[in-house]
Symmetry: C2
Subunit: 196 residues, 2 copies
Amino acid sequence: MAVLVKVGGLRMAGGTRDRMIDATVDALRRNGVAGMSFTDVLRQSGAARGAIYHHFPGGKAQLIAEAAERFGAEVRGHLAALPGGDPEAVVEAFVELVRPVVAASATGSGCTVAAVSVGSGDDDALRQAAGTAFGSWTDGLAARLVMAGAEPEEASGLAALLIAVLEGAQVLCRAAGDTEPFERAARTLRAVVRSR
Amino acid sequence: MAVLVKVGGLRMAGGTRDRMIDATVDALRRNGVAGMSFTDVLRQSGAARGAIYHHFPGGKAQLIAEAAERFGAEVRGHLAALPGGDPEAVVEAFVELVRPVVAASATGSGCTVAAVSVGSGDDDALRQAAGTAFGSWTDGLAARLVMAGAEPEEASGLAALLIAVLEGAQVLCRAAGDTEPFERAARTLRAVVRSR
DNA sequence: GTCTATACAAAGATAGAC
DNA sequence: GTCTATCTTTGTATAGAC
């Protein structure tokens, strides 16, 4: 096995290590940090038990940190690619981007980084991994808003508000079992941005 | 021991059962559902191991559900007591109420109900317990806004937005280790409500 | 690098004496 | 109602053959 393709020194998707991280991303968003077990990850990735400490000498903490990084980078990419010629349009596009994410959360598959934040316990490295991801989202979204013509300070505050709503809505919608809390909040959010 | 005072058929605070629920509220907000152990609860409440299934035949799930209910009721009380003669003032008071909560979250002690929502896994009873608590917060806050003169539909949307920001800010601030994400979002929130 | 087997600790859950 | 003791399962972590 082990189809390890190396391109420019970067290991491409498809390897065991890679599948393990993907499986961890999924297990985290579904069961949280303490609720995720190696058993789940091994079953979903097809890896053997011994593969864990071979690929991740730091054990569970390292695996989780890398999963948070991967998920964080992926979302950041989506945020940077947000369409919209003015701040209002970017907010509109943000709402559309978030809708399916929140829907997934309503059926049990929430935000991996939020799971790491809430479940980090007293592990500072984990907490910081989550903080870095969230920070990159807020900064990326703020930069996107500036690019669309917003004032830097206004963009920073608006981005922080939007990311907070994104995370809060996922928590609420998972508990509610539907996306209604998000739709209500989003309606107000748009009305509010439009009236500026 | 067992200073069980009964008043009108209701067991008052001070009993073993009661202390166990309090300890569970605390353990949940700190470590999440799967991260909370009976060992923690027993140590903090001073109860014996056998007391668990004596007081909570439903085991861990029942204990967690009751903790979510208690925390939910307590917060709902705070929201109902929010001062303010008009919607803008209520929002202002909300921000002040939330500030210390978010600060606690930044040091590791987040929202008990959020922990239950995120950590509920596939247990529908737990998910629903969290949903009920969140629903009561949103409804209570909306009612308070209506009382302060807001239109019912406007109040419903604004309340959903505020609760989402409350929960999202806790997740972000815990990861950041400080309250900056909340302060940024709150600044924008107030500016936005004021401009109506 | 991949796999099997296993050590060791901690979890939830019960039984039964007091 | 309270407590001690224990069963069973599950989880993390490691050792070592291939």
